[in-house]
């Protein structure tokens, strides 16, 4: 589905990514963890076509150049358009694609059902809680029906309870829509809870340091011994990165 081949990126003399190669299969939930500021966000933005890079990125076997309609993106920031209602935000991508009105309305309704915010269609972002805004941002990214969802620490700025709730919601949405997800975070607990597979990145310039499959059954229990042991292993890998 996604394949990166020797992707590198530097800004001036600063190397941000160095020979990053990996692939993600269809329907997989991949989490990338790494120290803060290691270049995780840049990597995602390269895949999305928002940044230039050296090397090659293939989406469904085709070399990707520029913005790719097969990719949806959820930002770290609260990036909803404040001047548009929930409906207007979700409909933005379809409007750009000049999708027919009836189709648009139907898709918006389906997505509102999916994120369970039917009664908020006419609310403005500032009237929503942080967690609700994040759900709308996910719906906005899904509205143009991309194959792939790239998520850049989307739940970073939320409190712990909301995060846990959104992680469960995200898994439900993922299972229902069968998208391929690449999810960046620096929260190991979040990664183990969500991922089919976890990639650990080094500190800048980011390289792939280790890979862990997470073979736990879904509806994971964060306190189970298996969960804790995977978590420990990844934390150990990461810790080395933080020690200079």
């Amino acid at each position: 589905m996604i394949a990166l081949e020797k992707v590198s990126k530097s800004i001036g003399d600063l190397k941000i990514l160095e020979n990053v190669s990996f692939s993600v299969s269809k329907g997989e939930f991949l989490c990338m963890v790494g120290p803060s500021g290691c270049g995780k966000t840049t990597l995602l933005k390269c895949i999305a076509g928002l940044r230039s890079y050296e090397g090659e990125i293939f989406i469904e076997g085709v070399k990707s150049e520029g913005i790719n309609q097969k990719i949806g993106f959820v930002f770290q920031e609260f990036s909803l358009f404040p001047f548009r209602t929930v409906k207007g935000n979700i409909g933005f991508g379809m409007e750009i694609q000049k999708r027919r009105n009836e189709n648009r309305e139907k898709t918006i309704r389906d997505l509102l059902d999916l994120i369970r915010l039917q009664q908020f269609e006419n609310a403005y972002p500032h009237e929503l809680s942080g967690g609700m805004q994040k759900k709308v941002a996910i719906a906005r990214a899904l509205a143009t029906d991309p194959e792939i969802l790239l998520m850049d620490e989307p739940f970073l700025m939320l409190d712990a309870q909301t995060r846990n709730m959104l992680q469960k919601e995200l898994l439900r949405i993922w299972q229902k829509t069968c998208k391929t997800v690449v999810f960046v975070t620096h929260d190991v607990d979040e990664a183990v809870f969500l991922a089919d597979r976890i990639m650990v990145l080094t500190k800048r310039p980011a390289r792939i340091k280790a890979e862990f499959p997470v073979d736990l059954e879904r509806k994971r229990d964060r306190s189970s011994p298996e969960f804790v042991s995977i978590r420990k292993e990844i934390l150990r890998e990461l810790e080395v990165e933080y020690v200079e």
């Binding site: 913005i67 404040p82 906005r140």
Partner: protein, 249 residues
């Protein structure tokens, strides 16, 4: 005491203070509130005040719309394009020049008629409108633009559907400030002389020549009240048009 009563008390105390001071001074220098009110009513009854106000307002409207027509698009383009941004050097040098310092040049270029008044108003309104639209566009968060880009929006669509609506509050504020400054500049410009003997500034100047302090003050009050009302109207419009912003709720 609620806010409204408090405000009323403040206004009344001010008028009271005025009255007290006026009692100790010759009316030639400072007529009291009753006298000025009487003059105001007379001026309104003869229709004189309305004519002067309407003439003044028409000059402001012309200059203001000229400033909007040029300042708004220019500000947006300067905020959007990296190349055009460099023009802000010129703007930064021209901006601190008070609009009234343009009066001599306006008189050389346009004489003392309608055009030169409109020019002064234009100068006054132009800079706040320009810089507020410039800043509004420039301060659009990069992730907002990227959010549009990943959804497939072209540069043009991003400008029209994201950047401009997002800068709307800032643009409207610029219009409000611009109109306020335009109004102040107009009256000052009218004080410097006119071809047609109309306008609130002219009315005040003429009253000065006649030694009518009451008419001068009546004219000043009219200017203040009209400016206040214009500000109120634009604030109301801002609230109506920008319902999506939390701090304007």
């Amino acid at each position: 005491m609620d806010m409204r009563t408090q405000k009323l008390v403040i206004v009344l105390s001010f008028v009271g203070l005025w009255q007290v001071v006026a009692l100790g001074v010759h009316t030639r220098f400072l007529p009291g509130p009753f006298e000025v009110t009487k003059t105001l009513v007379e001026l309104m009854a003869t229709g004189e005040l309305v004519v002067h106000s309407v003439v003044s307002l028409s000059r402001v409207v012309a200059g203001f719309f000229l400033a909007v027509g040029i300042g708004l698009p220019l500000g947006i383009v300067m905020g959007w394009s990296r190349k055009m941004e460099n023009f802000s050097v010129i703007v930064e040098v021209l901006r601190p020049i008070p609009p009234l310092a343009w009066i001599p040049l306006a008189m050389i270029w346009f004489g003392i008629g309608f055009q030169s008044k409109v020019f002064i108003i234009f100068i006054g309104a132009f800079f706040p409108i320009l810089s507020n639209s410039f800043l509004g566009v420039r301060e659009t968060e990069p992730y907002m633009i990227e959010a549009g880009r990943v959804l497939g929006a072209t540069d043009n669509e991003i400008l029209q559907k994201i950047v401009i609506p997002n800068s709307f509050p800032s643009i409207l504020e610029g219009l409000r400030i611009g109109l306020g400054i335009a109004w102040m500049c107009l009256v000052a410009a009218e004080l410097t002389g006119l071809k047609s003997p109309l306008g609130l500034g002219y009315m005040i100047m003429e009253a000065r020549d006649l030694g009518r302090a009451d008419v001068v003050i009546a004219g000043m009050i009219t200017i203040g009240v009209i400016g206040y009302i214009m500000n109120l109207i634009l604030r109301w419009a801002e609230r109506k048009l920008v319902r999506w912003k939390s701090d304007r709720a």
